[in-house]
Symmetry: C2
Subunit: 158 residues, 2 copies
């Protein structure tokens, strides 16, 4: 503690406004992984008919052990269903998460590219950013996007 005692008296014991922003970011992080997995499972199911542990591992850049554990958590939380030694499928809840997530992802990528960011960097940045883009900001991105074919409306040209 410093010598100036009145400095401390000024500080409030309540949480500061900034605290809420940080808390929100931490909360977001808890669902990021669910969104990434849901998206990957949806993609794989479309591509090959099913999502398997090895494929998810390869796509997400982790070992199959990590995938296994995470899938257990996602099943616990109602996002996926799976039988031992079988493929993984999204529940209705998981499908909703995946489609919302995919839409956001594609929109962020398209928006960054429209700003002149290279596709590679756009994809890299979008992967991290997308989870923190609120509905309001997403709408602003959409509005700012030059309509070169109405992205994000019906087709996802990934």
């Amino acid at each position: 503690m410093t010598l100036k005692k009145n400095v401390r008296t000024i500080r409030s014991p309540q949480p500061l406004p900034q605290a809420e922003e940080h808390r929100q970011t931490r909360r977001d992080h808890a669902v990021e992984i669910a969104e990434d997995y849901a998206e990957a499972i949806a993609d794989l199911t479309l591509e090959t008919g099913e999502a398997r542990v090895v494929d998810l591992a390869r796509r997400l850049g982790v070992t199959h052990v990590t995938v296994n554990r995470t899938i257990a958590r996602l099943q616990r939380d109602g996002f996926v269903s799976s039988q031992p030694y079988r493929a993984i499928f999204l529940t209705e809840k998981g499908r909703r998460l995946a489609s919302a997530s995919k839409r956001r992802h594609e929109l962020v990528v398209a928006f960054l590219i429209s700003l002149g960011v290279s596709e590679r960097v756009a994809r890299l940045d979008a992967e991290g950013m997308e989870h923190h883009v609120s509905a309001e900001t997403l709408a602003a991105f959409q509005a700012a996007l030059p309509r070169t074919g109405q992205e994000g409306r019906k087709g996802q040209e990934g």
Copy 2:
């Protein structure tokens, strides 16, 4: 495994391109906290002359115990210096991180606001997004920003 054996033969054993994006995001996450702490310490040092554990805790929305442990890690990694029971100060490395981080933060907020996002939401979203914005994307934000006084140059009007 499915009955169609050729499906598997097609898959490559190497990591997919998407894997790198996810890996990058996870790497980013490792430095997010360092950036948040560095920024908070810089702010507090400016405001009150020193950054203390309780103040950081209040600002970041965590308990003082969490702050304590994180500060130990940041000290281990060379971002801060602190003596037991004393205030926390940024090292040169920490100051660099803080100022880069603050500049990025302010620029992202300004950019979102320029898109029509409300200030409150802009700040909430920026807190999560900023850590995933690459130099290239940041430059694109800067370029797209209407120069209403050259934000991000010298003054931070927070």
